[in-house]
């Protein structure tokens, strides 16, 4: 016992100042609030995409986001995963203009999209985008995995077990609903930018993109900014991780196999060692 006390006393004296040292760091100016948790059909070990939601989200992307944001890693053929038929995908693809070429005369030409094409870029190059929008709108193919927020201790440990990994869509949803008509008093908002509660630094070049009743839904879902934001965030999760359902399904099979295999090996080991003790 006295040894334990000695060890802890020694270590304690070396560490003693740590407690003073680890006082919470002064909150950074204009700290962003944590995006509120949303309910997602694709969360958890058996999560699957809601096809209706993905189609609605795609509609929002197509009618609103795609004006400025590309989706360059997604091909039209991939849209079959949203529940569209081959013929529907062909029709959707044909509604986009794709640059092809050079042809026999050495000229580039435009033609209607085909299922094998990827979504065409909304602007010819980054400088053109900057000239037009005062910023380069990020490509949205992997956006849902490229955005996150810090979970902090001890939540980041629980997340391993609860499999919470929907920070990306939570943030995208929060960003869509997080615009404020007026910046808080004392906040110097540069001209041509907007105030958003959840955007890091709060100054965002993108004007509020969504408004109620902007996109028509045919399935009776509410046509509100909140619903649009959820649907487009779900669509972006699919775009970023198109094989998620397959991954979780195989994962479950792998887990069952490994657990049975481990059980068999445990009894094998017991049998082998029975005569050694």
């Amino acid at each position: 016992m006295s040894r334990t006390i000695l060890a802890f006393a020694l270590a304690g004296s070396l560490l003693g100042l740590t407690a003073i040292g680890s006082q919470p760091v002064a909150a950074q100016e204009h700290e962003s609030p944590v995006p509120p948790r949303q309910t997602w059909s694709f969360a958890g070990p058996f999560g699957t995409f809601d096809r209706g939601q993905l189609q609605r989200g795609f509609k929002v992307y197509r009618e609103v986001c795609s004006v400025c944001h590309g989706l360059k890693y997604v091909a039209f053929r991939n849209l079959e995963a949203l529940g569209y038929s081959e013929a529907q995908v062909k029709t959707i693809a044909a509604e986009f203009k794709v640059t092809d070429g050079p042809n026999d005369q050495g000229e580039m030409f435009e033609r209607p999209g085909r299922p094998a094409d990827r979504f065409p870029a909304p602007w010819p190059n980054e400088n053109a985008a900057r000239a037009r929008y005062n910023a380069v709108p990020p490509d949205m193919s992997v956006l849902a995995k490229a955005r996150s927020y810090e979970r902090g201790f001890p939540w980041f440990i629980f997340d391993i077990f609860t499999q919470f990994q929907e920070q990306g869509p939570d943030y995208i949803h929060a960003l869509m609903v997080g615009y404020k008509a007026k910046a808080p008093e004392g906040f110097a908002l540069p001209p041509g930018s907007y105030y958003n509660e959840y955007f890091p630094g709060h100054t965002i070049a993108m004007p509020p993109p969504l408004s109620d009743k902007q996109v028509d839904y045919t399935d009776g879902s509410p046509t509100t900014v909140d619903q649009y934001a959820k649907d487009v965030a779900a669509f972006l999760v699919w775009a970023a991780e198109p094989h998620m359902e397959q991954r979780k399904r195989i994962g479950f099979q792998v887990m069952i196999f490994l657990l049975i295999f481990a059980g068999l090996l445990y009894f094998t080991k017991k049998k082998v060692w029975a005569d050694a003790h």
Partner: protein
């Protein structure tokens, strides 16, 4: 330890072969008849797990290379191509990325087990030093590999780490330019990092052979730290150790599969899904989780050169552990005082890891300085002194005696 091979070739072909290349005899004496202490616990199964992971990383890596393009303008795109269009490409990439993390989980357990049971002590010093070299090679390989997707963290992580070398007086800047192959991290850097990332795993495999060779010369340590004396103290590697290792390996795979299939991006960083952009610095550059304690040590020192020296010193000091620990008793089971300090040391390393993930400001810096001091004090002050002043518990006469004693206590 392994002595003469007891291998008796059965078939005519194997007899013919054995007289010309006794490879079957070598395998038999190393992995079948090899005597292993009978009291090894499950912490001794991580060597096998590490060998499995090295093999898995090499196989998934070789297949990934068939689809990956090591070119600054195409690397990010080719990784997305793997994730979307290559059959089971997402599985290969997630296995490889999470496999690296699992490799470090296993190696940290392996190292900490060696520290607890004094596995580095005479006559296992060379075995231990080879292990430290393996760990260094792993760190280099992991860092190089993290650069390859060419995301924001890849790019800026590579920038920060290579900048360490600019701390070298006089020639620092030239060394960094030489490493980069230019005046900044760019395509030449990516291409050489890719080349080295492909090379180093085979160097690791070579050093693993030396590590296992050294192990088979001196024999395994065991939880008592008392060397096997008679045949009663050991069991044959096969089937005893093989059965135990296989069970634990599959248990480890459950954890591995959990990350790969359910939270594949948990151990990564969201910023690495943003393509590398030299014009935009991320708010907060953090390395992979397995480097965080050393990153905390680096940033705890206000002077850049001293910080880099402390960083490398914190790993290099491990090589001197066999001589810094002055105690004659190996296992912490018989060293009550060392056991307390051992767990404090583990907690300090975890604390440094946490601080490494935090911005270097305010109280975090002070905390990192104190823990850094403690980290070095553990090796340079506590261990040498402890060996001289500590009163250890009496050691059992043999392994079998200690097993009998614990059985009696259990009944």
């Amino acid at each position: 330890m392994s002595g003469h091979s007891a291998y008796q070739p059965q078939s005519a072909f194997m007899k013919w072969m054995e007289r010309r290349l006794p490879i079957a005899g070598l395998v038999h004496s190393s992995f079948v008849a090899y005597p292993t202490p009978r009291n090894l616990n499950y912490w001794w199964t991580f060597g096998g797990i590490l060998s499995f992971l090295l093999g898995a990383q090499i196989i998934t890596g070789i297949i990934l290379v068939m689809h990956y393009t090591p070119q600054a303008d195409m690397a990010f795109d080719s990784v997305e191509h793997i994730m979307r269009d290559v059959n089971y490409g997402w599985l290969l990439r997630y296995l490889h990325a999470n496999g690296a993390s699992m490799f470090f989980v296993a190696v940290y357990i392996h190292i900490v087990r060696g520290m607890y049971y004094g596995s580095y002590k005479e006559p296992r010093e060379v075995l231990w030093i080879l292990g430290v070299i393996l760990y260094l090679l792993m760190m280099a390989t992991g860092f190089l590999g993290y650069t390859l997707p060419w995301g924001q963290m890849s790019f800026w992580g590579a920038t920060v780490i290579t900048n360490f070398f600019s701390a070298i007086p006089v020639v620092g800047e030239s060394v960094v330019t030489w490493l980069w192959g230019g005046y900044g991290v760019g395509n030449p850097t990516l291409q050489r990092f890719f080349s080295l990332h492909y090379l180093l795993p085979f160097v690791i495999a070579g050093v693993v052979v030396l590590h296992v060779w050294a192990l088979h010369v001196v024999g395994q340590n065991n939880p008592t730290g008392v060397e096997p004396k008679t045949e009663k103290d050991t069991v044959a590697f096969t089937p005893y150790a093989t059965a135990k290792d296989s069970f634990m390996m599959v248990c480890f795979c459950v954890v591995f599969a959990w990350f790969v299939f359910y939270v594949p991006n948990y151990l990564g960083h969201a910023d690495n899904y943003i393509p590398a952009n030299p014009a935009v610095t991320p708010n907060h550059i953090v390395p992979e989780w397995y480097y965080l304690p050393f990153y905390a040590i680096l940033r705890a020192i206000p002077n850049k050169l001293m910080g880099v020296i402390a960083l490398f010193g914190s790993i290099g000091i491990l090589a001197f552990l066999p001589w810094l620990d002055t105690s004659k008793v190996r296992s912490a089971n018989y060293r009550p005082l060392y056991r307390q300090f051992f767990w404090i040391f583990v907690a300090v390393c975890l604390g440094l890891g946490y601080l490494g993930s935090k911005p270097p400001e305010g109280g975090y810096v002070l905390a990192a300085r104190i823990l850094t001091f403690y980290y070095f004090a553990h090796f340079l002050i506590i261990l040498p002194v402890l060996g001289l002043v500590e009163r250890t518990k009496p050691l059992p006469n043999s392994i079998s005696e200690s097993i009998l004693a614990s059985k009696r206590a259990a009944n």
